[in-house]
């Protein structure tokens, strides 16, 4: 549904995105993840036909976003960053304008507007001026305008920003409910959001895609081996030696643990669980077992590993933090 090929965008000497390629299948929800300034919004602006790319192509439903812009725009709903709306229009009047400009027929316009207001929980604010609404409501009106006209593809730039936790949950379930009929690409820097609503993840950092796939694929890709953090009351050197002697263990490292003691990061192949062996080892040596848990399995750790890895790779990375 969305095909992006070697997309590059430069603003003068600054390269915002470089050689970005990805595909989104019909009916999928894909999260676009990256630190601030990574190029998420730039990519979305290109996909929504607002801005041309410097190089490469992007197609939505088979139409090029530049040369067949009007065809693309008939098929997308776009929520830009910070939901820019007309402050001097009441909510319902604004949505009626959007419905009309998107070509919703006069006969169904009223019910379609009422429907999106209902789905985005703004019905009770429909007569208020948009400028008088709180950030959360404005964001939801922005989402409502994107949904109008029942577009095949939704491009949502940080859809849950400025919402309170309950609203976030509501909007997430709304987006989740779009899966299947609609193809959604949403950007965020909130990691749990991606786990909660997305089928796939694209991680972008400093204008380049650094990882993509489903959440579990990414975890396996970034952490090929399972890791266990172990803390025991025993002499560090002895423990290290004993752990290294275990056949299932591929790598051991002593690290400073959060509570100030020393803990051991034990790596092993993903299909082997070494935790039982570790317990037996500690018991047989008489070291009191203080802590034992798996690490490195969440998307957050994938993200930090991928993004931080990039930044240490070449030392130029300044000013970008997750």
């Amino acid at each position: 549904m969305i095909q992006v090929d070697h997309l590059t965008k430069r603003y003068g000497p600054v390269t915002a995105i470089q050689d970005v390629s990805f595909n989104v299948e019909k009916g999928q929800i894909v999260g676009f993840l990256g630190p601030n300034g990574a190029g998420k919004s730039t990519t979305m602006k290109i996909l929504s036909c607002f801005m041309p790319a410097t190089g490469g192509t992007a197609r939505i439903a088979g139409f090029d976003v530049f040369s067949r812009s009007l065809e693309v725009r008939r098929r997308i709903g776009y929520l830009p960053e910070n939901a820019p709306l007309y402050a001097d229009l009441p909510v319902a009047a604004y949505l009626d304008f959007v419905a009309e400009i998107k070509g919703v027929s006069r006969a169904t316009r009223k019910s379609r507007v009422a429907d999106v207001m209902e789905r985005c929980f703004v019905t009770d604010m429909q007569h208020r001026l948009i400028g008088k609404l709180s950030k959360g409501y404005r964001q939801r009106v922005g989402l409502a305008q994107a949904l109008l006209g029942d577009p095949e593809v939704l491009i949502l730039d940080e859809p849950t920003i400025g919402l309170d936790p309950r609203q976030i949950a509501e909007i997430r379930s709304l987006i989740r409910s779009l899966a299947g009929q609609h193809t959604v690409i949403l950007s965020t820097h909130i990691l749990p959001e991606v786990s909660a609503v997305c089928d796939g993840v694209i991680i972008i950092n400093r204008g380049r895609i650094v990882a993509q796939g489903t959440e579990s694929e990414l975890v396996q890709q970034v952490f090929p081996s399972a890791r266990v953090e172990l803390q025991v009351a025993g002499p560090t050197g002895d423990v290290l030696a004993a752990l290294r002697a275990l056949p299932a263990v591929s790598h051991v490292e002593a690290v400073q643990s959060r509570n100030g003691g020393t803990s051991f990061l034990v790596e092993s192949p993903r299909d082997m669980d070494v935790r039982g062996e570790l317990v037996r080892l500690a018991a047989s040596r008489g070291w009191a077992l203080q802590e034992l848990h798996q690490v490195g399995m969440s998307l957050e750790e994938v993200f930090i590993r991928v993004v931080a890895g990039e930044e240490t790779e070449d030392a130029v990375g300044v000013g970008e933090r997750a």
């Binding site: 801005m51 830009p80 305008q145």
Partner: protein, 255 residues
């Protein structure tokens, strides 16, 4: 035909905010003041011409009241129109709503048409309110309606020119003050350029006279529809709108 929603939205914004009311109020105040002054002076002169009939030879209401009134109104519009047009594109760019507008399935030309026609509609509404003045004159004396109609046609054309220039300047910037003042400056230049014709001679004089935006109003207020003037206003409007559409299109290319 997707210009209609844009047109309706702009009208809502004009009337949903104080713009239409503030501009309308002050326009009516100023033009009403001009009308009453001109009319009072006229009645004063016609009174005196009763005592000294030799002064009353060329006295007629069209030349002495309506023509100066319409010429003055054109100048008042020169000041007011920039305030009607300055927000049309500049505000959308500044607030970011342009990003949404340009990603809706609507052609640039339709956006442009909707905005231009909305400003023309508001302007025409202001003009319509001034029918009060010839109406009042007709209450006291006989009015020739032909020159009146051509005068209004002239005002509509000169207003359309002002609005098109304003729309163009607004499409160049995201700062409303720059848009408003830039428009005002351009219009002012096209007004005062005619003054230079008085001291110039030969071809220069003709050129300067032809360029002056208010000089072309003259024959309309005399009841004449001259192709030369229609061509002037027509090309001015089309050129300004064409430049605006280029300016919008360049946005699509440059980002």
């Amino acid at each position: 035909m997707r210009w209609l929603p844009v047109f309706k939205k702009e009208m809502r914004l004009y009337f949903g905010s104080p713009i239409a009311y503030v501009v309308g109020t002050f326009f009516l105040l100023i033009s009403g003041w001009f009308f009453s002054q001109i009319f009072l002076i006229y009645s004063d002169i016609s009174m005196r011409s009763f005592m000294q009939p030799q002064f009353g030879q060329n006295l007629n209401i069209a030349d002495s009241v309506m023509r100066p009134l319409f010429t003055n109104m054109a100048v008042v519009f020169l000041f007011l129109v920039p305030m009607l047009t300055m927000r049309l594109f500049a505000e959308e760019k500044r607030s970011g709503t342009m990003e949404l507008l340009l990603t809706y399935p609507v052609r640039d030309g339709e956006v442009l048409a909707g905005k231009f026609l909305a400003s023309v509609a508001l302007y025409a509404l202001l003009l319509a309110l001034t029918w009060l003045y010839p109406g009042l004159v007709a209450y006291f004396t006989r009015v020739e309606w032909g020159p009146m109609l051509t005068s209004y046609l002239g005002l509509l054309l000169i207003g359309g020119t002002f609005l098109a220039v304003g729309l163009f300047v607004s499409s160049l910037t995201e700062n409303q003050i720059v848009a408003g003042f830039g428009t005002f400056g351009i219009l002012l230049a096209f007004w005062v350029i005619g003054w230079g014709a008085d001291s110039a001679s030969g071809t220069l004089r003709t050129v300067l006279q032809y360029l002056s935006v208010t000089d072309h109003m003259d024959s309309f207020t005399r009841g004449l529809i001259d192709t030369k003037d229609l061509v002037y206003y027509g090309t001015f409007i089309i050129l300004a709108l064409f430049l605006t559409s280029r300016s919008l299109e360049s946005k699509r290319w440059r980002g």
